[in-house]
Symmetry: C2
């Protein structure tokens, strides 16, 4: 019998994906559920909904609430939380391409968590090669090789395909979790998604 | 010392307010927290965000997800859930005005729960006088008196004020819960709001 599994759909600019990324591995392991990390881009998803940027920017009341809500969530998980100093949303394109390289090489989870910490706890610019190089070094990955692999056409295409698949499967925000056709949206649905995988 | 309290902001057309309305009284009672039921209208709130109707209508992917999500939630609470046969969103104006009468008279919670059941479990038209009359009778309230009170200018004004206060306090969706300045959005934040009230 196959081990039950969930797919974790995330974008590096997504605030709620940060606490989700920090707890999914432990929660899934305790439950005996495998996690497939599936980075994608929210930009095209938002565009498909008629938005030119994050809904938290378009709707200020929602943006203010989101900040306080994530602050409370991070407090409960003992995570630092500080919005990056740059205009939101952050550009997670390079990081997402690198993550796909890490998926094949086995370091995607560790890399992704560190990108989130850099973005939302350390206020670093995750679109910067310097920052990404530092993160790769810290997890023992040779940066030049990883960057080269991330810029191969088939790797870029892989990220586009993830994003297209996300839209095709009804995903409209991050983080999302899928178990077959069953979709769960939001950090607060993680436990439910894991439980569903075990059904 | 005052009993800890939360304010429950809801709109009768809001799907997620349905499961919240069905569980808030019991949860709060067990926790020793008082609940102030605060009906308001989402129409003006959405208008302030540039929407002409419910975001679940504007964004189909979100609407489809919402239906399945609420279906799962209702299943877990042993609640029936069927979208009303009418074009969404339903018109909860009359019901909200009646609810305010019930706030003064002490039957707002019972009335509100029954309006939600009529709307989301029994597929009844909650903008219909016949349906609302039936609900009032079932909770032992004289319909003619309640309708007359609901149509008084000061009662209509009361609902407008609730809605204005909701917007002023940063509310952008329903259900929402407030404990002083602390805002919690969504049925899934109810437990957190109650815990906050006891801090």
């Amino acid at each position: 019998m196959n081990k039950p599994a969930i797919e974790f759909w995330y974008e590096f600019a997504s605030t709620y994906s940060y606490p989700a990324s920090m707890r999914i591995a432990d929660l899934a392991q305790v439950a005996g559920v495998a996690v497939q990390w599936r980075p994608f881009l929210l930009g095209p998803v938002f565009k498909a909904q008629g938005w030119h940027t994050s809904p938290f920017v378009i709707y200020p009341a929602k943006g203010r609430y989101m900040f306080r809500d994530v602050e409370r969530i991070c407090e409960s998980q003992d995570l630092k939380f500080k919005l990056p100093p740059l205009e939101p949303p952050q550009n997670g394109l390079k990081a997402a391409r690198l993550a796909l390289v890490g998926e094949r090489a086995g370091w995607i989870a560790d890399f992704s968590r560190r990108v989130y910490i850099a973005n939302f706890a350390e206020q670093k610019d995750i679109s910067s090669d310097v920052i990404l190089t530092e993160i790769l070094r810290n997890i023992g990955v040779e940066p030049a090789t990883a960057f080269a692999a991330s810029n191969l056409p088939e790797n870029k295409e892989g990220l586009r395909k993830n994003t297209e698949e996300a839209i095709a499967r009804g995903i409209f925000g991050a983080p999302s979790f899928t178990v077959g056709d069953e979709l769960f949206w939001g950090n607060d649905r993680l436990e439910q998604a894991i439980a569903w995988a075990k059904k």
